[in-house]
Symmetry: C2
Subunit: 346 residues, 2 copies
Amino acid sequence: MRSLVLISAFFCFVCVSIATGQESSEFSQAIPVPAAASEELQAALRDWPRPDISAVPDVPANDDEWLANIEQSDERWASGIPLMLEQVPVQVVHDRLAGVNVHRVTPAEVSPANEKRLFLYVHGGAYVYGNGDAGIAEAILVANRIRIPVLSVDYRMPPNHPFPAAVNDVISVYKELLKSRSAKSIIIGGTSAGGGLALAAVHQYRNLNLQLPGAIYAGTPWADLTKTGDTLFTNEGLDRVLVTYDGFLAAAARLYAGKYDMKNPLISPVYGTFDGFPPTILTTGTRDMFLSDVARTHRKLREAGVIADLHVYEGMSHAGYLISPDTPESLNMYSELGDFINRYLD
Amino acid sequence: MRSLVLISAFFCFVCVSIATGQESSEFSQAIPVPAAASEELQAALRDWPRPDISAVPDVPANDDEWLANIEQSDERWASGIPLMLEQVPVQVVHDRLAGVNVHRVTPAEVSPANEKRLFLYVHGGAYVYGNGDAGIAEAILVANRIRIPVLSVDYRMPPNHPFPAAVNDVISVYKELLKSRSAKSIIIGGTSAGGGLALAAVHQYRNLNLQLPGAIYAGTPWADLTKTGDTLFTNEGLDRVLVTYDGFLAAAARLYAGKYDMKNPLISPVYGTFDGFPPTILTTGTRDMFLSDVARTHRKLREAGVIADLHVYEGMSHAGYLISPDTPESLNMYSELGDFINRYLD
């Protein structure tokens, strides 16, 4: 597989970093590039200088501004997909299932163990970004690296469709899948908002007495939409991707939650109970602003007696395995995810 | 069990925090007390204000100054033990094994599952502190909470006995134990330097073709004595216990390593290979300066295919579960450790 490193520029998460990054690639003397990260991740960090928190751009002020902002961001994200598909042998088919837009992402070769399995993928993007092709980059990586068929849910989002539309779409697709396959053949998950939405969906599956999936992939999940986790403060400005909570993240959270309480477990899944949850793999990095919320979710899973594996990558910002897919850290993370699937899925 | 909270004052790790803590208990506006930590841990953090890095005291300049510093610190640590033993029903017997000073710490009641097991405990203290009773606080907690017999190694330390004396003492005791019990009935481990020394000892057991213990407890291990890990920088001043690397930690590392390369895996175990290691439980916190080194060790274990469980506690500084033993986080951590022992020891 050729280098994916060029793709990283397309996945700035909330578009704060690139917009506000200092021109200089120098770092503060106090915080050097993490010397124990891989050479490749160090290089990626050097290419992506520490952002200037004070220069965070204004958030959209109304629905029209949001729609324009989302269109612009999604166009940039989607523009990386053709290049990615040149490099990665997967087939992407747009489809509808139970009235919901989905993408079927199939690798050139499915591994024998994964032939009867399905990765139900839930994309990230702060609950506002990632419509259409803008939301399938990680689905492509997963299909290619784990050699598993992926069904990516193109769920509805605000401002037109706030909570609970996204949860309902993931429920509809899952119910449809259960008509033709066992729950234990399915892993559900994704990164960031996708990880949070996967956890929220499983809360709701349990509420609805549905059979639960065989496993969950909670890639640095946005498990708490309130500004509570410690690393939202301690890693502010260190996390190249999220940069700061105040601005796009806080605004996107409000837009998504709408009139609902942000501590509703279907919005901020860390506030739910996790009894009976399937085995869950959680990933984060030492510079991830969501590190606290990943760790808190892990603890709640463990306190409920759930099998839950936590992986923390050195020097990695939020979703660094996806932003910098050519790093050994990224390859390692998807290798762990593949092993986890082999361990726990039928 | 009555409150252990008073004990915490005795376990400042390298005695920087208490010596330099600001009188005010106010926090920087930017970094509030972690709201998602337990009430008890939040209270402990309020009682232990953020230290002033610029006011770190001078490190001892020569062996005599070290010995005086160590004696003073160890006296303070040891002075908490009688109070602890009033509250916790364990018996402590001083003994010698294979020419090494040890403490046999036996709970009032050993759990049936743990009757034939042994916790080979290796104390912390930056490889300089923790002689005699100054090194048995966690052994007492482990014996009491997990209801397992503990053998705590009172290994030799610098300035009189630099590396490899400590490793050799842990080897000697372990070899002696293997004469009368199975390796798989033993878990080896401890916190901080104790966690690092346990990992180093297992490297050496493997070098010597000894049977490996059934499990390892690497409580926020000092796995890298060089100043490399990212969180040594990013959590500097946030970690109430370690505070800063520059000062006592760096000086203690030099004193311990002596003429040897600090990247020797028997000194900084993260630089070794981990093939064939027993199942290992690793614990840390989001504010732990050793978070990076714990995460790096976890990754190396996983890359070697070893069963390795990582637990990260919200808002916790280095060894917070030991410094603040009355917190739910501390009870939870030792509960996880007990479960881990049940899962993997014969």
